[in-house]
């Protein structure tokens, strides 16, 4: 059966990219390094659209699964698997679960294609702009942004640590990230591009594995349908997908910025580089 992390990663990838579409206007104000050319933006747009379609489709199915699960529990079917009514409910849940797998199976090839395109575009940008045109010192200066002694703004959002966050909150963070990226300049773009690239790289592999797993999971569930069984793995997968769509209450977001400091730093040594 599919691993939750695989499902989670697959779903979250497009959501990440979707929010980056509006970044283009901000990126346009910092033309020094070209990590987000038009092609990347277009690839991100497409990936975002595919992800949104998948999310919309899954959200409806998940809602239905929730209702069916609730009915199953209310009917006290746990431990009464031989009851014909409970078996019928279990088959309905299984059928909805199959529907969820089918939606994923349909959407994943498109997503795989757009993710790979995005990955390749970013790869080229990173290789040329940061890999070949920069020395390590220049890269460091780009990341520091020429303001090494200044503290970072508080509550700076980052892309890392998305898992477990409510979708609405995630979008809000992305919006903040994008809204302030113009002011933060190249250092943010380098980190952002790296983060997205590594995410896409990992996601591309996960999609491949997910597609293989879906075929197996579908077959297993078709067999289970004959007996009206709800497997623990099925509940686990559904739970994983739900946590992506509706958020995970227990999850903690990572701290984005440093704790506030109190010391003014006015001195600059003639030795400082």
């Amino acid at each position: 059966m599919m691993k939750i992390s695989v499902v989670r990663k697959t779903l979250s990838l497009g959501i990440a990219t979707l929010s980056l579409l509006s970044a283009t206007s901000s990126f346009a104000t910092t033309p020094t390094i070209r990590l987000f050319p038009t092609t990347v933006v277009e690839d991100l747009r497409q990936t975002g659209n595919v992800a949104r379609d998948m999310e919309t489709g899954l959200q409806e199915v998940i809602g239905r699964l929730d209702q069916q699960q609730e009915l199953y529990n209310e009917s006290k079917c746990d431990g009464a698997e031989n009851d014909s009514g409970c078996q019928r409910l279990a088959r309905q849940i299984g059928a909805t679960y199959l529907e969820m797998l089918t939606i994923m199976e349909e959407r994943l090839p498109d997503m795989e294609h757009t993710v790979n395109n995005t990955k390749l575009s970013l790869e080229k940008g990173l290789r040329n702009e940061l890999g070949k045109k920069m020395t390590p010192w220049k890269l460091q200066e780009t990341l520091v942004g020429g303001k090494a002694s200044e503290a970072l703004p508080q509550n700076t959002p980052t892309l890392r640590g998305r898992s477990g966050m409510r979708l609405s909150e995630r979008f809000k963070q992305y919006y903040q990230l994008v809204a302030t990226s113009g002011a933060k300049g190249d250092q943010s773009l380098a980190v952002l591009a790296s983060d997205i690239y590594l995410d896409m790289d990992e996601t591309s592999l996960l999609i491949q594995r997910t597609r293989q797993e879906i075929a197996r999971a579908t077959l297993m569930e078709q067999l289970n349908q004959s007996f009206g069984i709800i497997t623990p793995e099925m509940i686990e997968v559904v739970g994983g997908v739900k946590s992506i769509l509706f958020g995970d209450e227990d999850a903690q977001t990572l701290v984005a910025g440093p704790p506030p400091g109190s010391v003014e730093q006015a001195y600059r040594s003639p030795l400082e580089q």
């Binding site: 990173l126 390590p136 890269l139 790296s194 730093q265 030795l271």
Partner: protein, 183 residues
């Protein structure tokens, strides 16, 4: 009295006298390179400067470490300036090259990492040595913790350096993957 019998003690006496004279001579020219006695940074720096110009320059590393220890006892932002001036003086005296002075200062008191210095592009130079670069940066971050946080009370500076280290780690991972994919 046998002549041989007299010669032997005389020779022994002469040898012992020579050795004593030699040792006395050494003791009078070798500098005393003791540790600074004062816990006041300014006074300690004065003492160290005297020792350094009196021939203890081989002990520079130890002195620098001891001065940092003393400064940790009274951390304040002004300590940065004290160390900077001490290093500029050391450079002017010819005890350190300009580059060495910069290294000593920036390694402890600057957000940027000296471990990230290099004249070649990242694909060809940094990526093949990525693990070593990151390891060196990690060690340098410990020195920055000492210099920025414990000596200068520059919490913002230290946390920025810490974040920079993490950003470099992330960006290098992505960039080096991209470089490898392009080969």
């Amino acid at each position: 009295m046998n002549l041989k019998a007299i010669r032997r003690p005389l020779l022994t006496l002469a040898a012992l006298s020579s050795m004593t004279l030699f040792l006395v001579a050494c003791a009078s020219t070798a500098p005393v390179c003791g540790s600074p006695q004062s816990r006041n940074l300014n006074t300690a720096i004065d003492g160290v400067q005297t020792s350094l110009i009196n021939g203890c320059h081989a002990h520079f590393d130890r002195y620098y470490d001891e001065l940092l220890d003393i400064a940790e006892g009274d951390p304040k932002p002004e300590n940065k300036r004290e160390f900077s001036e001490f290093l500029v003086w050391s450079s002017d005296q010819g005890l350190l090259s300009t580059r060495q002075a910069e290294d000593y200062y920036n390694r402890f008191f600057n957000v940027k990492f000296m471990s990230m210095r290099g004249d070649y592009n990242n694909c060809s130079h940094t990526c093949p040595n990525k693990q070593k670069v990151l390891f060196d940066m990690e060690r340098e971050l410990s020195d920055k913790e000492r210099g920025l946080l414990k000596v200068s009370r520059d919490a913002d500076g230290y946390y920025r350096a810490d974040q920079l280290y993490q950003e470099v780690e992330l960006v290098l991972e992505a960039t080096c993957n991209a470089c490898a994919a392009g080969r």
